[in-house]
């Protein structure tokens, strides 16, 4: 196991950063994560030492950066246990999910086909499919969640039938943090010939990912949620499916040839999905990020966060005025409310104590209907959070009352 105090030294944002005159406790890692120096250096290094475009530059600097860009693809492939040609760089998980819905769903779905999903999906995962439904006449059906809000293999089995062509779900729910049985769900879906689209935004940063073992057809994530830069994400797809998917964006770098009559000969995947100049510095930053995570070891990261979560739940459970919605979920997400206090008021109080959390419905609006609460507070950990962070958080939670929340303004 890594030494967290050593790990923290790698992150400039964890050095003496203050918020509201308190040392910052950052518990909004589900939204985005801090960057280690190696990632920052990779990004700024590109602008200070290379700064040239990739592809087809007939000079050394361009050739060199093209190789480095492709090396980033290889690193990500290795991180996911995929082939490099199965890794498409996008602007983030949202773009990846849109590419799959519009590029694969629109092409292959017909009237009456079923897209199976859950009520716990992030807007980025489900809204593109709403549009696909409008255009194809396919329909969306929902897998019932358990009482706790979990996705069970049993309920997936009940919901699957031969009209289901696509199964879309988050490997880890961004609101409740349950680790879903991805491998089993995928096996069941494949028995009926359905394609599995897995949103890995909250999984890939926290749990070891082996796409070959999981056997998912598509898996997406954003770099910035796993110590990488913003503006880049990954679309993993099995190669034959990538080849069978249309690009959403057309342009330079994606076509091999075209003529004035409108004939386009596209390149093969992944290039055909990467029209235009990509976020080159972000690809290099993402490479540094996955290398950083691999050095710590993903199994260690998962175990560390689970331990931190257990520690936090144990302490929070002693507070009678707190309602915790996902005590059993093993990943580092805590969804909770304070009795009689509006979530945003409580989050503002925590801000006043230097603690960053998020209030809201976290984009998973449908799930909120399931939980029977219109809003929750989410505290989300990463491997650089400490038990001291948890202690500060718990102490602050003790004092959340309507009076103290209103008192912030005076």
């Amino acid at each position: 196991m890594f030494d967290v105090s050593e790990v923290r030294k790698d992150f400039p944002m964890l050095q003496n950063k203050m918020m509201q005159n308190h040392p910052l406790v950052y518990l909004d890692n589900g939204a985005t994560t801090f960057k280690p120096q190696s990632v920052i250096d990779a990004v700024t290094g590109y602008y200070t030492t290379t700064s040239c475009n990739i592809h087809r530059g007939d000079y050394d600097l361009s050739f060199q950066i093209s190789s480095e860009y492709e090396n980033a693809r290889k690193s990500v492939a290795q991180f996911l246990n995929a082939e490099a040609k199965e890794i498409v760089f996008t602007s983030g998980a949202t773009a990846s999910l849109n590419q799959i819905a519009y590029g694969y769903g629109l092409k292959h779905l017909q009237k009456g086909d079923v897209i199976l999903t859950t009520e716990a999906e992030h807007a980025s995962s489900i809204l593109p499919w709403f549009k696909v439904v409008e255009q194809t006449g396919a329909v969306i059906e929902y897998i019932e969640l358990t009482e706790k809000g979990e996705l069970s293999v049993e309920n997936v089995r009940k919901a699957l039938h031969e009209k289901v062509k696509v199964v879309v779900f988050a490997a880890v729910s961004n609101v409740l943090g349950f680790k879903n049985p991805v491998k089993e769900i995928t096996r069941l879906a494949h028995e009926l010939g359905a394609v599995v689209v897995c949103d890995g935004a909250q999984w890939v940063p926290h749990v070891k990912t082996d796409v070959k073992d999981l056997d998912v057809d598509f898996m997406v994530f954003s770099a910035h949620k796993c110590c990488g830069p913003t503006g880049i994400g990954v679309l993993y797809g099995k190669y034959d499916l990538l080849e069978d998917m249309e690009p959403v964006v057309y342009g330079g770098g994606a076509n091999a040839r075209f003529d004035a009559c409108g004939n386009i000969l596209l390149k093969h995947a992944p290039a055909k999905f990467e029209a235009g100049t990509p976020a080159i510095e972000a690809a290099l930053g993402l490479k540094a990020a996955v290398e950083y995570l691999q050095k710590l070891d993903m199994d260690n990261i998962e175990a560390y966060e689970a331990d931190l979560k257990r520690y936090a739940i144990e302490k929070l459970k002693e507070l009678d005025h707190l309602m915790i919605y996902n005590a059993e979920a093993s990943t580092g997400i805590i969804a909770f409310n304070v009795k009689d206090v509006f979530a945003q008021d409580a989050a503002s109080y925590l801000n006043s104590q230097g603690i960053a959390v998020r209030a809201g419905n976290h984009c998973a609006k449908i799930l909120v209907q399931h939980l029977k609460t219109s809003e929750t507070i989410r505290a989300s950990f990463y491997f650089y959070n400490t038990k001291e962070d948890v202690d500060r958080f718990v102490e602050a939670c003790k004092n959340i009352t309507v009076e103290n929340c209103v008192g912030l303004f005076f």
Partner: protein
């Protein structure tokens, strides 16, 4: 009046009171009433604001929805303050209020209990909470004036 409204305890009590017992907290949805939906893009405040405006007079106000202490109490107080006023008087109150929240010059005497929000800008991200319902009333007033022309 200034000493009373300078006491933070009093101001806090005003906000608490209007949060726990919001006034005009129902939608009539009857003839003559106009309604506007104010859903924040950046937070979870989600309010429906209603007013009955006839011949330039705000005869009735109401609101419902899900919102935080600041959004609920500011909307509640404003709903009381502009009820029975002409649209011109109401806009003057509202503009003074918005000026106060924005830390610009304002006339304290017009604002009564709304003075409770004079330090809301200390929490910059909450200014929108303190204005979301009020901006709903502005929309309804502007709409009524447009229809009147």
């Amino acid at each position: 009046m200034s000493s009373y409204f300078d006491d933070p305890m009093v101001l806090r009590q005003i906000i608490m009171d209007h949060y726990e017992y919001p006034r005009n907290h129902e939608l009539k949805k009857q003839e003559g009433y106009a309604e506007v939906h104010m859903a924040s893009e950046s937070c979870i405040d989600d309010l429906f604001i209603e007013a009955k405006i006839k011949d330039g007079i705000i005869e009735d106000t109401g609101f419902e929805g899900t919102a935080c202490t600041i959004a609920t109490s500011s909307t509640s107080i404003m709903s009381e303050l502009i009820k029975g006023k002409t649209t011109k008087e109401a806009l003057e109150i509202i503009n003074n209020y918005l000026a106060m929240v924005d830390e610009r010059e304002y006339d304290e005497d017009m604002l009564e209990e709304l003075i409770a929000f004079k330090t809301v800008s200390k929490q910059a991200n909450r200014i929108k909470c303190a204005t979301i319902g009020i901006k709903g009333f502005v929309q309804l007033i502007e709409e009524s004036e447009k229809n009147h022309e």
